[in-house]
Amino acid sequence: MSLVSLNEGEKVYIIHGVEENFRCDGRSRQDYRPLELEMDIVSNANGSARLRLANSDILVCVKVEIDTPLPETPNDGKIEYFVDCSANATPTFEGRGGEQLAAELSRFLSLAHCPVFNLSKLCIVSGQSCWKLFVDVLILECGGNLFDAVSLAAKAALCNTSLPNIVGTYEDGKNIDLQISDDPFDTKPLDARDLPVLVSLCKIGNNYVADPTIEEEICGAGCIVISVTPKGKVSAVLKKGAGSFMPDTLNEIIMSGSQIGVLLNKALEETITKDMSSNVCKQRFGFLK
């Protein structure tokens, strides 16, 4: 991503544009670029989704495994986030180049989900066995605003996830053996509709914009990422970039971020419902379209 640089003229042009509430691509400050979602595209996963936000392309897969719960939380399952920045997205990600960004993304995603996600839903036998969810995010192309795109894709993939049904357990002394249904359709969906999405607001000049492009991210003095649940609660806030904020600006940004977040959640919700309802003869396109 460091491949993009801007000269002063371009920066001034962007900053003035934001002031006039008319950005380079014609959006107003709070508009998102068109998003495109496709669910259930990886056949060997328990849930998956691919999201395109302009040029940002994110593929998220959820896999489940049986694990033993931690001794301090015997009734809770586990969830692990892993982000990989594919070198396909930009050559700077080659080798370990994308690791720092990936670590930041996965850490913040787990921070944002953690206070909202009820892990006891993943419990099978208290203290003995639980589900462990692996949420694997693959970044295939970067067109700015990765935090929002990754969170939307991750939520969609989790909504798409279903857990296999346990058909029987039998105890053998202390150990409990679990029998998982062989039928791939004998599953129960995971309820993930309450999960938050992330909204990045980039401060440019004295204003802030939603869904920043790469150019705007470079131009901006700093960025606030807010994790918003469908009910408008805030579950995590993060600051990116080297800038600093006035207290009033910060409050204002968080306020409008939560409003955007509610709408974003609603839009995602509607799309997911639409996708679920058209379940019959659904065709997977993936990357062929």
Binding site: A103, N118, G241, A242, F245, P247
Partner: protein
């Protein structure tokens, strides 16, 4: 557990014995929780009171600048080194860089930590760097980097905010040009009750999952008092949006209080410098 060729490693899969005392720990947490419902804290503080702050600057004589800060049981050390050229770098940079390291000592937390950096340390390191970056006059040392290191000796809550405060002092002690002093403080929110400067147990309580809709979580804010600028803000938990202005205001007030302490420590530090110079 990643294998490590550089250190003596014990066997894999060790368990802290405290795991078998979980009930005790849980009752302790419940006790704290019930006390908090009555607006009382286990260490006898008022819910809006800070723990005592103990500041010592210049204790790492080998570093350019350093500060040791103790806040309750939270203890940490921060040191700053001379600006030096960035190794293996060809491009020209107009602003200097801050290289930060944020490390927990292995014995600093309830559970023993690993030697290698984990994701929490990385994240704290990122937040730490972002918090102090705006305060340093980075234009003064173009193409150079400054190394800022933090070692947490004991973690009893509000580590990041303490570290940021310590870093501000260490940078000052190291005579690195800064726009303003930087201080930070944190809040815990438990069932709508606001706790200033939460301890480790209180933080755990604030972040544990509950069914209800009440506000909970932690908030941290780093602030430059005389410039009135927020340099870092992070929050975790589940909170109502309308509460944010209140939290932010409260944190700013707290920071102003801490700033007074920090400033007096800074003045003592500077006087100390002069005295040592005159005795030389």
């Amino acid at each position: 557990m990643p294998t490590n060729l550089y250190r003596f490693q014990g066997p894999e899969g060790t368990i802290p014995y405290q795991h078998y005392l979980i009930d005790k720990n849980n009752t302790k947490l419940t006790k704290i929780a019930t006390a908090l419902m009555k607006n009382e804290r286990c260490d006898g503080r008022d819910i809006s009171a800070h723990r005592n702050l103990c500041i010592k600057t210049g204790i790492v004589t080998q570093a350019k600048g350093s500060a040791y800060v103790e806040k309750g049981h939270t203890k940490l050390l921060c040191s700053v080194f001379d600006p030096k050229e960035v190794p293996n770098k060809v491009e020209y940079a107009k602003t200097g860089e801050l290289q930060c390291e944020f490390k927990f000592a292995t014995f600093s937390c309830r559970q023993r930590r690993n030697y290698t950096r984990d994701s929490e340390e990385r994240q704290l390191c990122n937040e730490f760097r972002r918090a102090i970056e705006p305060a340093v006059c980075r234009g003064e040392f173009a193409n150079f980097e400054i190394q800022v290191n933090v070692l947490v000796l004991e973690n009893d809550g509000s580590v990041l905010s303490t570290a940021i405060t310590a870093a501000g002092l260490a940078l000052m002690d190291g005579c690195i040009p800064m726009y303003d002093m930087i201080v930070a403080s944190s809040l815990g929110i438990f069932k709508n009750t606001i706790l200033v400067d939460p301890t480790y147990d209180e933080e755990t309580l604030c972040l544990s999952w509950t069914e209800d809709e009440e506000n909970r979580g932690t908030v941290m804010l780093a602030y430059m008092v005389s410039l009135e600028q927020i340099t870092e803000f992070s929050q975790n938990g589940s909170m109502d949006i309308n509460m944010f202005p209140e939290y932010v205001q409260l944190l700013i007030d707290q920071n102003c209080k801490i700033n007074k302490l920090v400033q007096s420590a800074a003045i003592t530090d500077v006087i100390g410098h002069f005295e040592s110079q005159t005795t030389d």
